[in-house]
């Protein structure tokens, strides 16, 4: 990176460190923090959408839909989330490939499952074997996002279902008395009011989501855990210009500090948001604010 870095073996102390920390691999390591942030930015709204649909289904008047919603919200209580992270991407991948196989190669004679193999025709492969590298990486990342959204959607569905139940019944009854249809009272009365009740649960969920991001590593994404293991492992002078011992502990200490900062900052942010949302509300927090101002 710097001009004096051409021969690292002559360097020492801080200059060595400044060169070491700016190697190409380290730049990739820093970029992988962006991957984590990207995952958070995409997964949070996606999980909220899944959660909203799940909560709506769980409240539905149509019995089969209600059962699906209930099962979806209940399963995260009994089954470890890591099992879903391992299951959802591979199941989705096979499901999509099977559908494409059916559509693209209708005359394929052999069975898709042959013993221990899952065989689809070459045109049905996802992504195609001829696709460039970034498509493969993007596809893996998309599957990871879907797995996260699926699991956290179930958590969010629990929170939103509770929030919908918490809205006072009188509000809905009044809406009915004004002649609103069920659909109208849901969208105009229930949904705008439920967010105040949902926010504590959703902020908790955000913290959980932040702490689940290192699991990206399990899904084969080159995330911060991958790079910390890669860079921290001991390097000999034969393979690297910067030989060093086993530094993985220090890299993971860095990750720990990163996550502590992230959760601490989110906590600050949410308490600010809660103060702002409570302003003028007929709740305990809102009343306390009013008294403090008076």
């Amino acid at each position: 990176m710097f001009s004096y870095c051409t021969d690292p073996s002559t360097l020492s102390g801080l200059t060595w460190l400044s060169c070491y920390l700016t190697t190409g691999k380290h730049i990739a390591f820093y970029a992988s923090f962006g991957t984590v942030m990207l995952l958070l930015a995409i997964t949070a709204p996606a999980a909220l959408t899944f959660g909203f649909l799940g909560a709506m289904a769980a409240r539905s008047h149509i019995a089969p839909l209600r059962w699906i919603g209930k099962i979806y919200t209940a399963m995260v209580r009994g089954i470890p989330d890591i099992a879903f992270f391992l299951f959802v991407p591979i199941a989705l991948d096979q499901g999509l490939e099977y559908l494409r196989h059916r559509w693209k190669c209708p005359d394929w004679g052999e069975a898709v499952r042959q013993g221990n193999d899952f065989v689809v025709c070459a045109e049905a492969k996802l992504p195609l074997s001829t696709a460039p590298q970034w498509v493969h990486e993007g596809y893996g990342f998309t599957l990871a996002v879907l797995a996260f959204a699926f699991v956290f959607g179930a958590f969010a569905a629990n929170v939103l279902y509770g929030a919908m139940q918490a809205v006072p019944k009188a509000q809905i009854e009044t809406a009915a008395a004004y002649g609103m249809t069920q659909r109208q009272s849901f969208w105009r009365i229930l949904v705008p009011q439920m967010w105040v009740y949902a926010l504590p649960g959703l902020s908790n969920l955000w913290q959980i989501l932040v702490k689940a991001t290192p699991l990206l590593f399990l899904l084969g994404i080159e995330d911060i855990v991958y790079w910390a293991r890669e860079l921290g492992g001991s390097k000999t002078a034969r393979f690297s210009d910067y030989p060093h011992g086993d530094w993985r502990m220090w890299y993971f200490l860095g990750l720990l500090v990163f996550y502590l900062l992230l959760t601490w900052l989110s906590e600050k942010g949410f308490s600010r948001l809660m103060t702002r949302l409570s302003h003028g509300q007929a709740t305990m927090a809102g009343e306390a604010q009013r008294k403090a101002a008076a």
Partner: protein, 268 residues
């Protein structure tokens, strides 16, 4: 090979008894059920021991955090902040590499680099922090009247704590503590994915499930089996904790007793 033979060979495979070689091909449903169930021994082991040891440290941490003495309060607050604010996955990795460094210093630390002790230490500290925060919240909401009544009866110090404060704290904390226990058992599935090696392929339930999913390229059988086992485990945890909950609340009228409600608000 019949299913009874499979059970004889693999039921205790995860703790090193029975057949050494894992099945390589033509996996039967029985083999998958037995091996994954065998792996569940590790999940129960990690969860149960971390909970039992963690219970005592959690009480100490909660008392420390509630202490007016800053020398006790600050360490307790930092302990809770560090273990609740960072992912368990990272804690596992960090601890594993830390123990490897220690191993170079003294052979006393050798067992810490294997999962049975090293991962247990991490889970123990982790659950102590989460449960400590729960107990701290409960400690703060012990009714004033109970403490005044204890004073009126002339109880003080240790006797007051043991007979009034502590049982009331446990009673109030128990529904949340049940959740913590459930999610601790779920968190044990991370052990063999986070640095700690599965010595001679002795892993936990999810480790074997992944083994089968990788070999057969069919996730639709092993993962539902894991799900089945964990639902059973969760139900047993709820049953055990429900019994304790009833005992803690046996002096209350039935309508006042808090119900156990499983809410997924704790996860690492």
């Amino acid at each position: 090979m019949s299913c009874t033979e499979t059970i004889q060979d693999y039921a205790l495979r995860s703790i090193g008894f029975g057949e050494r070689l894992l099945p390589r091909s033509d996996f039967t449903l029985c083999e998958q059920f037995v091996l994954i169930g065998s792996g569940l021994i590790w999940n129960v082991y990690f969860g149960a021991f971390a909970l039992i040891f963690g219970f005592f440290l959690a009480t100490a941490v909660a008392l420390g955090k509630a202490s007016p003495n800053a020398a006790l309060r600050k360490p307790a607050e930092w302990f809770i902040f560090v273990f609740r604010g960072s992912p368990l996955f990272i804690q596992f990795f960090l601890a594993y590499f830390f123990f490897i460094q220690l191993k170079a210093l003294s052979s006393f630390f050798d067992p810490f680099t294997s999962a049975w002790l090293g991962a247990l230490v991490v889970l123990f500290l982790n659950t102590s922090a989460y449960a400590g925060e729960i107990f701290y919240g409960a400690l703060r909401s012990v009714p004033k009247g109970d403490l005044e009544a204890a004073d009126a009866y002339g109880l003080s110090g240790w006797t007051k704590f043991r007979r009034v404060t502590w049982p009331t704290m446990l009673r109030l904390a128990w529904p949340s503590y049940t959740n913590e226990a459930i999610f601790l058992f779920h968190a044990t599935t991370l052990v063999f994915f986070a640095g700690f090696p599965a010595f001679q392929q002795r892993g936990d339930a999810l480790y074997y499930a992944q083994y089968f999913a990788d070999k057969t390229f069919n996730p639709f059988i092993p993962y539902p089996i894991v799900a089945f086992y964990f639902i059973l485990l969760t139900l047993s945890v709820i049953a055990v904790f429900g019994t304790i909950n009833r005992r803690l609340n046996r002096h209350l009228v039935a309508v006042d007793r808090p119900k156990l409600r499983v809410r997924p608000n704790l996860l690492r």
